[in-house]
Symmetry: C2
Subunit: 347 residues, 2 copies
DNA sequence: GTTAGCACTCTATTATATTGAGTGCTAACA
DNA sequence: TGTTAGCACTCAATATAATAGAGTGCTAAC
């Protein structure tokens, strides 16, 4: 599609612009990147590239800047693989070495790590992991007329909720209900909790219909896939180091986006279907507020199944090669850590 | 300490500066605030006020700006009480009306509410609430060699952790342990879990020493006061509307602070000893990074005991009267909501 | 097809006035 | 003695003009 020289010119433009944040001109290319041709020739090539939509001019007689399309071509065809330095790898490993008991803690740490290494903003997303099968329920008496339902799923997710109960119900009643539910629902997934089963339970616990309904509500909700989605951010302020965010207005729109977990998870969620690292550039993100940002992301998971995603958010001018390497390295490690932490679950 | 006219001049300066963010001059005061004296007289007063340290000049021959000390005097002696509009009160009530089951959800909502009404950044802090007494423990089998300890305290806080257990221990063993622990520890606070009691339990469950230790760890940690502290932020980007944050450097230091929960909770924690609304201005915050910010905060609680705090963070030039009113109104409402949500607990 | 040369464009930078709000001081006034 | 008008002075902010410099597109020669 593009001849070798055009590729080289485009590559030079992208690399230089990523490094300097300044529009790059023909002269610079000729000097820094030895293509063996004169600036004039490069100018001709640049005119062609511009016409093809790979680069653009901020204004007449400035240097050229890659367009979204140009970055896309770079990422798909020109980018050279990078590796982390040994120090950096060590840093990652260290960060995961310190023992943690909590999935949330791991993900928080991942967010910080990502942004610390790259100086971009990190977004870490978990979905409900595990197969959504029931493991344990406990209804605990908390005071007159109040109880707490605690539910544990096979993935190790714990959900709890305070519910009102009739004053006449005592701790022992709740215990009985818990026992029956545990017995009947053991290992069942939400789909497999069939109507007959529920009827059975209702029959057995006819008197506690009200309590039962609320408990079933929580079970239903907890085992449904969407629940338990959570977003962790790291290094929000890091992105302010990028010159493109020296304008406070831009910072504002970005922050307002980052505050909305829904939007963020929508962006990252796209990655679950893909394998490996996904790069989404500028308008491809399909979100007005970050139309001049890019995201480099990948999913992490257990046994090959994604349970969440991590992403690096930067300006479209971000260092894709590096972000790619970091995201790749960290997802694979994170997957390992998650597997270790939740090993044996969901069999 | 200050005669009536000086007070009036200081009041005028503070009010005008809060409203306009521009240094205020003698002429403006004479025109806008009818003190019945000429600019020249006001200039003399201003010279005095400056010498006393209540106001300062950004540079020779600019208007005057209140100093931290000036704001302090304003807040302590000059500020007029404000009330929320009916619409705003309705907004608050509405926000708390929608039913929620989860304390976290309430606090998150409070953060958003605070920042939405005031356009400042909201910080909401919870501490471990309740008396720190034990309510229920459950150890659940999660797979070979793995179990989950779930602990519920009287405050309704739920904590959980995955632990390794010997492969030989099965679901039933864990159940037994749970039962014994529940029976022995029922209603005990961490202080009251005496050594004799622990020995008793160990004796009874001699074979499961390992599991027991880990469970006791979690109990200890959960019932200790510090645990369960959590910070919710609302409207981070709101503060960027303030002209003092048009400088990206400032935004950066502020954001880097907001990302560190520890620092934030240190700031807010100070409020637990005080009653009512506390205002901390500039250097009083004793934190280099926000030395030109102020915080208006108060604690919310149950039965008069604080269980957390809310704060509004703005530039020192913030609208104290309004922030005061909002914080006051919302804490009292929040306290009610929390009591309703956790009613009957900890008796 | 490539390149040197050159006129042209447009931003960024620097230098230079100009404006205007505000002050402090002095001297007159009640 | 406290208040006020008047005035010279200061200094940031704004506007204006001049200059420099990077880069382009085009043409003509190689």
């Amino acid at each position: 599609m593009l001849d070798a020289r055009k590729k080289n010119v485009l590559l030079a433009i992208v690399q230089d612009y990523i490094a300097t944040a300044e529009p790059v001109g023909s002269r610079t290319i000729a000097r820094k990147y030895k293509l063996g041709v004169s600036p004039a020739t490069i100018r001709n090539e640049m005119a062609d590239l511009e016409e093809m939509g790979f680069i653009e001019q901020p204004y007449t007689s400035a240097g050229r800047v890659p367009s979204d399309r140009g970055y896309r071509y770079y990422v798909d065809h020109l980018m050279k693989r990078e590796e982390l330095t040994l120090d950096e790898e060590k840093m990652v490993l260290n960060s995961y070495l310190t023992k943690v008991q909590d999935v949330g803690e791991v993900l928080r740490r991942t967010g910080n790590l990502l942004s610390q290494i790259t100086n971009y903003t990190a977004v870490v997303l978990t979905t409900h992991y595990g197969k959504g099968t029931f493991r344990h329920i406990q209804i605990i008496h908390m005071g007159p007329g109040q109880a707490m339902v605690v539910l544990v799923s096979d993935s190790g997710a714990v959900q709890h909720r305070i519910i009102d109960v009739p004053d006449t119900i005592g701790p022992d009643d709740l215990d009985t209900i818990s026992r029956v539910l545990n017995h009947k629902l053991q290992g069942k997934s939400i789909k497999n909790i069939r109507l007959t089963l529920i009827k059975e339970i209702y029959f057995e616990l006819a008197r506690q219909k009200h309590v039962l309904n609320m408990a079933m509500d929580l079970i239903q909700e907890s085992l449904t896939v969407k629940t338990g989605e959570k977003v962790y951010l790291g290094g929000i302020f890091n992105i302010l180091n990028q010159p493109e965010f020296h304008n406070v207005e831009k910072v504002k729109t970005l922050l307002s986006l980052l505050e909305q977990e829904k939007e963020l998870s929508n962006i990252i969620e796209g990655v679950f279907d893909a394998r490996g690292v996904t790069v989404r550039i500028g308008e491809e993100l399909d979100n007005e507020r970050i139309k001049d940002c890019s995201v480099v992301m990948a999913s992490y998971g257990m046994d090959g199944k994604p349970v969440g995603g991590i992403g690096l958010l930067g300006p479209t001018r971000m260092d894709y090669a590096r972000a790619y390497a970091v995201v790749e390295y960290i997802t694979s490690n994170l997957s390992l850590v998650m597997e270790r932490l939740l090993r044996g679950r969901g069999k």
